[in-house]
Symmetry: C2
Subunit: 189 residues, 2 copies
């Protein structure tokens, strides 16, 4: 059982025979550092599981690039409005490092409904979980200081600080690189 299968198994709890069938519908893909997974305004009819590497989800806003999220190993990646609503992508998604992906093409994605009987239900659960995560994230902006947000991220995922440039993490945390630098000095020093 590979990384993807064990994730799907653990997450969706589906039977073993459909598991390998599902996993086989994903195709390996790789991105080099700097490559785009998708660009805002284009279409991105695919869903990917990140085997290794880091992707940055961001959007341009008046000269600035705002990093909405950074995705690492063992996470799914997609632009939801494209995948679900067949609209153009809302986000730029770019590889911060070389990346290995398992990708479900649009055709394969549609096939899922046939192969996995309760696929819409599994999708629903998956998206609902993402929703809850975002709820917590909104709450963190409503109720925490920059330093507290840093601490939460660091405790949850300290690896990321060694893998991706801090300026993107700062943006994702809603602070400037200078502030993050000072917070880290205080926290690590």
């Amino acid at each position: 059982m590979n990384q993807l299968e064990s994730y799907i198994s653990g997450y969706f709890g589906i039977s073993n025979d459909s598991l390998s069938q599902v996993a086989s519908m994903f195709e390996e893909e790789s991105l080099s550092k700097g490559d785009y997974y998708v660009k805002a305004g284009r279409y991105c009819h695919k869903l990917s599981f990140l085997k290794s590497g880091y992707l940055r989800i961001f959007r341009q806003k008046e000269e600035k690039e705002i990093t909405q999220w950074i995705s690492g190993p063992d996470y799914f990646v997609t632009d939801l409005s494209t995948l679900i609503f067949q609209q153009t992508a809302r986000w730029d998604i770019q590889a911060l490092t070389d990346c290995q992906l398992y990708t479900l093409s649009n055709e394969a994605y549609k096939e899922m409904n046939r192969v996995v009987p309760d696929w819409p239900k599994l999708e629903k659960l998956f998206i609902a979980k993402c929703f809850l995560t975002l709820e917590d994230r909104v709450f963190s902006f409503l109720s925490m200081t920059a330093e507290e947000r840093y601490n939460v991220l660091f405790e949850m995922n300290s690896d990321i600080f060694n893998q991706v440039p801090l300026l993107y993490l700062a943006s994702m945390l809603g602070m400037t690189p200078e502030t993050l630098s000072r917070i880290r000095k205080k926290a690590l020093g």
Copy 2:
């Protein structure tokens, strides 16, 4: 066709005969100002459509009540982790005004799978839409000032400022009541 039916129709685009059947599974319910729809830690196996009135979704955090969201007429309300994952509620939900609801009980909610064949798919779409809204909300905290966030809310839903106490709106916008007061003074002349 009542308010709920026209909403469901517009939103889910289901056939007319199943439409009335779906709508009939909701039961009317009312809350008085101050009543709780659900309390954090309890269970809330229900989904409601807000016919009239305003509900505040909030959570206690160190002496403070942080308002995550305020729901008004024509919106659905629930605590997702309870409805979908059968866990205890993550939020307190309280009526800010007297409220009229159409409520789908847990049993009726389960029935939906039988009555509406592609209910999980509709649910998926619904939750996905909520997810996109939350994404935008996170982005607003990453990229906008308090004043800009106020302007966006005001342009999108100015009614709300006449219907609910400003201190809750301030909290939901991530600022203090004093700051909101000053921003409004400036904005309204």
